[in-house]
C-alpha cells in the first residue's frame, strides 16, 4: 500500500501507474492535483459554477475510468486538460453565456452564494486600496477574458494561469503549434484593446 508521503511526492506517471494497479488513494491524489486547474479552466469557459463542477466531475470520471488506456509517453496533464476543454467547448456550442464576475457568479442570489462563487485570488499582502484596485482590475480582466472566443480563452488560460508550454497547449487543444501562437497573439491584442482604459 502506498503511503500518503509517497503519493504527494511521486510524479504523475508513477501515481497513474499506481492507479492502474487499483490503488484508490492514487485516484484521490490525481483528482487532488488537478481539481483546481481543471475546474478553473472549465469555470472560465462556461462561467457557471455548478455547471463547471458537473463538467469537471465528468472529466475526471472519464479520465479515471479510462486510466488503463493512458500511455506514459504522453503527459497526464495534457490528457486531462484536453478532455476538460472538450467538455467545456461542447457545452458552449449549445449556449450563450454572460460575463463572469469577480463578485460571484451572475446567478448568485444570496450573499453566501456570491461569496462561494467569487474568485479566490492568492493573498499578496496588499494595502486595502491595492486590494480594491486589484479586485477591480481582476474583475475587468475576467470580463475581458470572457469576451474572447472560447478557443482564445482556452489558450490564454492554459498559458497564463496554468503555465503550459505552447507545445502542450497545441496537444491539449488539438491544434498546430502555429495556430496556438496565432490565437495567443490575437487574444492578447483583443485584451489590450478591452483593457486599454485601465492603462490611463
Amino acid at each position: 500500500m502506498t503511503g500518503s508521503w509517497d503519493l504527494g511526492r511521486a510524479s504523475d506517471r508513477q501515481v497513474v501507474a499506481w492507479a492502474q494497479e487499483g490503488e484508490e488513494a492514487a485516484f484521490h491524489e490525481l483528482v487532488r492535483r488537478y481539481q483546481r486547474p481543471v475546474f478553473s479552466l472549465v469555470y472560465r469557459m462556461v462561467r457557471d459554477r455548478e455547471l463547471a463542477e458537473d463538467l469537471a466531475q465528468e472529466t475526471f470520471i472519464k479520465v479515471m475510468n479510462a486510466i488503463d488506456t493512458y500511455r506514459p509517453e504522453h503527459k497526464f496533464s495534457s490528457w486531462v486538460f484536453k478532455i476538460a476543454n472538450n467538455a467545456a467547448i461542447d457545452h458552449l456550442r449549445r449556449k450563450e453565456l454572460d460575463a463572469l464576475s469577480l463578485d460571484g457568479a451572475p446567478d448568485a442570489v444570496t450573499s453566501e452564494r456570491r461569496e462561494a462563487t467569487a474568485l479566490q485570488v492568492s493573498d499578496r499582502s496588499e494595502s486595502p486600496l491595492d486590494e480594491l484596485e486589484a479586485r477591480e482590475l481582476g474583475s475587468q480582466i475576467e470580463q475581458a477574458i470572457a469576451r474572447l472566443r472560447p478557443e482564445y480563452r482556452a489558450c490564454i488560460m492554459l498559458r497564463h494561469v496554468e503555465g503550459r508550454a505552447y507545445e502542450e497547449i497545441a496537444t491539449v487543444l488539438g491544434l498546430p503549434l502555429g495556430t496556438v501562437k496565432t490565437y495567443i497573439h490575437r487574444a492578447r491584442g483583443e485584451l489590450r484593446e478591452y483593457l486599454g482604459p485601465l492603462r490611463e
Binding site: E21, I61, M64, A134, H160, V161, R188, L195
Partner: protein, 169 residues
C-alpha cells in the same frame, strides 16, 4: 486560418498585460469534490487478476448461461463418477488412509478416468451409490448438496465473466 510558426507571441513586451494575466487566480470546486469523483469511478482490479479475468472471459465468450450450466452439470456427473470409481476400486486406501506412492496415485487416476469415460456412467453411479450407502455417508444429502453447489458456482461464474458496461471516452 493563417498559421505562422514564426509569428511572435506578441508585438512587443507588455508588462502590464502580462502582470494582469499572470496574476489571475484559480478557482476551487466545493469541498469533497475528490471524494464525489472517486465514488463514481470503477477502481480497476490488479493487473494479474484482470489478466485472469480476461482469460476466463475468453473461455466463455459467446457461451450462454444455460450452456455453461449444462456443461457444469455434466462435469459434476463425471467428477462424481470419478470419485465413486476411486472409492470403490481403492476402498482400503480411501477408508484407512494407507500411504501410496506417486506411481500408485497416477495409476489410480488413470483407472478412475477409464471408469468414468469408458464404463457407462449410469453403472458407476448405481454401483457407487450402493458403496456409499454401505459406508454410512448420507448419499442423498451429499448428492443434492454437491449438485446445488455446482449449479450456483456455474451461475456466479457466468455473472462474473459477463462483460460490464463501460464508459467510453
Amino acid at each position: 486560418m493563417n498559421d505562422d510558426s514564426n509569428l511572435p507571441v506578441h508585438e512587443g513586451p507588455d508588462p502590464a498585460l502580462d502582470r494582469w494575466l499572470d496574476g489571475l487566480g484559480r478557482f476551487s470546486p466545493r469541498q469533497g469534490f475528490a471524494d464525489r469523483v472517486v465514488a463514481q469511478v470503477r477502481v480497476p482490479l490488479p493487473r494479474w487478476l484482470r489478466g485472469l479475468r480476461n482469460w476466463g472471459r475468453g473461455l466463455v465468450t459467446g457461451v450462454t448461461g444455460w450452456t455453461l450450466l449444462a456443461v457444469a452439470s455434466l462435469a459434476t456427473a463425471a467428477t462424481w463418477g470419478s470419485m465413486l470409481a476411486v472409492g470403490m476400486r481403492y476402498d482400503t486406501v480411501v477408508r484407512e488412509g494407507v500411504s501410496i506412492s506417486w506411481a500408485e496415485a497416477s495409476a489410480m487416476v488413470r483407472a478412475a478416468a477409464t471408469d468414468t469415460f469408458v464404463v457407462p456412467a449410469g453403472e458407476v453411479l448405481v454401483a457407487g451409490e450402493r458403496w456409499l450407502a454401505a459406508t454410512g455417508l448420507p448419499v442423498r444429502g451429499l448428492l443434492i448438496a454437491y449438485g446445488i453447489t455446482i449449479m450456483v458456482s456455474a451461475i456466479v461464474l457466468w455473472w462474473l465473466m459477463a462483460e460490464p458496461a463501460r464508459t467510453r471516452v
